[in-house]
Amino acid sequence: MAHEAGNEKTECIRSVERAIDLLQALNRRPLSTLHDLHRDTGLPKPSILRILRTLEAKGLAAQSASYGSYQLLGRVKSLASGFHHEPRVVETAEGPMIDFTRREGWPLSLALFDRDAMVVRACTIRFTALSLEHAALDRRLSLLSHAMGRAYLAFSARHEQAILLSIVNDPSREHDDAAVAAMIASTRERGYALRDPLSQSALGDDRGACLRKRPRRRHARLHLDRRGDDRTAGRDALPARSQGALAEHLGRPRRRAAGRAGRDHAGPGTRLRRGRGAGVVIASSTGSAAMNARKLGSLIGAIALGACAAGALSADGPAMPKAYVVAEIDVKDREAYRDYVAAAFPVIQKYGGRFLTRGARPLRSKDGHRRNG
């Protein structure tokens, strides 16, 4: 968490700050080990343990007996129960975002600008298995390195860009002005933003597109567009050139993700075609060429498409890309499902399949990263 601005620190109560950092870290996983928390917060382990004891005493967190790690308890909700103000754009966007994720399995996040970064205010990770992140809410995403930040920055008006850059310009880190200008130009040209390949992903593999505030409208309206779908709603949300580029990028063979409904037994070709379209969603506030740079007014947010962290999944793999079968399973008949598992297990083994996660319990991979299924 923000460890900058040392001179402002003297006015803060250090232990309260640490407790808040720890609560935020606990929110990111269903279960966290002491080591996870240490890695996330940078706090010494003895301090973490003392804070955890305090949280336990207040009924906010507990050590999970079966796995030896820590989890939040329902009472943490009392900490935010008085917060009712939800920006209208989040309220408006959440429905269509959830619908999209339910239909396509693809996670989406919506972020709003706050002070010097984009803050994730809505995400649909919990509606899909296609994300290794547990939650992205309240993540602060850099304007310079994350896709959502870059999209927001690039599609801001020139004078706003200058202000934003002066805010994020950190004298201790070298910013290459020319590189920033090139990034802005290529993002505008492309119509959507990509994350800095060198930056750590907070949201898996993300693509950012922009929402725009339109003064005449009372609130923003979202249009979802899916490539390979004949519906025309939102087709003009992006200039055709950008739509094609985004679809092409998402549709690269190495990023291929095949999705289908459980009962759908179409052939392999059908699945892949469907899968290529599955990742494309464009949000615009107007339904007309919102991404048209000339017309862009002030921006109110950015929306990101999170792929399933394909990079993270394969980071330890050899040159040959591995493949992952991701299953969302809601068991209706336990007995019959047990029979299925008994029959499927030897087949999975026969084809060299290896379980990374099973059921709701996360397993550890050999490199120590937890994977949620």
Binding site: G105, A261, G262, G311, S314, Y324, I329
Partner: protein, 49 residues
């Protein structure tokens, strides 16, 4: 649930094998399910322009 396979071909070989398609109806009867095949990236940095 995530199952790792050595390659996309191998994952597809599994999904479309007679071994598996014979038992898939068991899954469809006993659970609501959705399956995805996702291919990992060979070179993460190179794949992001």
């Amino acid at each position: 649930m995530i199952i790792e396979f050595a390659s996309l071909e191998q994952a597809k070989a599994f999904e479309y094998s007679k071994d598996y398609t014979d038992i898939a109806p068991l899954r469809q009867r006993s659970a609501d399910s959705r399956l995805f095949i996702v291919e990992g990236a060979a070179d993460v940095a190179a794949s992001r322009p």
